[in-house]
Amino acid sequence: MSNPTIEIPFVHRQSAHCETGVMSNLLTHHGLEISEALVFGIGAGLFFGYLPFIRLNHLPLITYRAATGRIMTRTAKELGVRMVWQKFRSPRQGMDQLDRQLGVHIPMGCRTGAYWLTYFPKRYRFHFNMHNLVVYGRRNGDYLISDPVFPEPVTIPAANLMKARFAKGPLPPKGRMYRIDRISRDADLPQAITRGIRQACRTMLKSPGPFLGIKGMRYLASQIEKWPAKLGEHRASHYVGQVIRMQEEIGTGGGGFRFIYAAFLQESATILGNPRLEEATQRMTAIGDRWRDFALMGSRICKHRASENETYPAMAAIIRDCAAREEQLYRDLLEMIA
């Protein structure tokens, strides 16, 4: 059976985050130029959750964004873009279908585990199953990959891509593959932006229970203060490290996605002709900086290099500051777009 080279002319644009980067690049490929920041905002990706009852390597889960896949599906819906999703029981079927789509020059988005992606720097390769990339060709025994968090396109042997697409563990990708089918109407960008902002604000302000949104931040702050006594210094520092990793390691653009969201607000200010959103941009930037302050202090505690003022209560105070600022900002944003 022949194994022809296929190389779809796909424009690789490096992005801060995988899901938004893939969506932005796929949309651009299909003629709709939407930036990563706009995807993040229209898809209402901004979020916060502290979920101590869910464990990753015995450490609590903290998330700064909405559930995986939701940014793409919401963005598609708001922009009138029809996407086709598939998942597969059999890895062979999953790879054959990929080949078929590549054969008709359709670039395919794939959800994968990160562990088997051999082009990742070694220290990023964990069993994390919520990564996204685009396959845009094949050459010899390799697939051509546009992985948006990397500067340039990369290649990966077919066997490794298959393993990554069918990785096991929490939230296994099951070979999930998606493409943009068609853009069914003119995107109403102002409306999509307004609805996205409203959704994010409501989620952050009004999610039920103690673990999500602003309440989740306050809950995390109150827990952080208790960690040294409850867990001992050693384990407490691992918990802090976990929060920092979720905030900064997984491709958030810095500050737990707050900088990307600020960039979105700035673009929206122009598109909506609403200068008040420029003020919101600045406030969100300052909030992102506060999250970074927390990460800096936390990392010094992890390294046992903390000064007198760098303590667990001080970290909790920074998070409370973030909570108060975000709460006021979301309330004001709802008014700004009303």
Partner: protein
């Protein structure tokens, strides 16, 4: 974060540039590459310390005759019994048994080959465990 403040701390990224969002002097957002940030390297190191500890323990237990080579390969692939069992399509109690030296020694080659395939190594390499560094 201002452009001037975008960190270029090489470490975790091994020279691979990531993308961040920062503001220029006019307050306009620009996409800026970063070589890395020290807190990220610190916390990533911390996570790897735990993993390296588990790998070292598996090596020690192997050389003490208490674990099969499988324990080492499982740890060095960041897996636990549940995850490995999932990859092997086996119940957990069977994978746990395979961690015992005597049981592993007598494993059929079919299972050995399947384990090796999960880890992307040869059946020979599956039998190998590094020397105990005694740390």
């Amino acid at each position: 974060m201002r452009i001037d403040d975008v960190p270029q701390d090489n470490g975790l990224n091994e020279g691979v540039k990531e993308l961040t969002y920062a503001v220029d002097e006019q307050g306009r957002y620009v996409r800026v590459t970063s070589l890395g940030w020290e807190p990220k390297t610190t916390t990533n190191d911390q996570a790897w310390e735990v993993i390296d500890g588990e790998i070292a323990e598996a090596i020690t237990l192997y050389h003490a005759g208490k674990r099969s080579p499988l324990a080492f390969h499982m740890a060095s692939n960041l897996m636990n019994v549940a995850l490995l069992a999932s990859y092997m399509n086996l119940p957990r109690w069977r994978v746990r048994r395979h961690l015992k030296p005597k049981v592993f020694e007598n494993l059929k080659s079919d299972l050995i080959n399947r384990y090796a395939q999960v880890f992307n190594i040869s059946a020979d390499e599956l039998q190998q465990v590094p020397p105990d560094s005694g740390v």
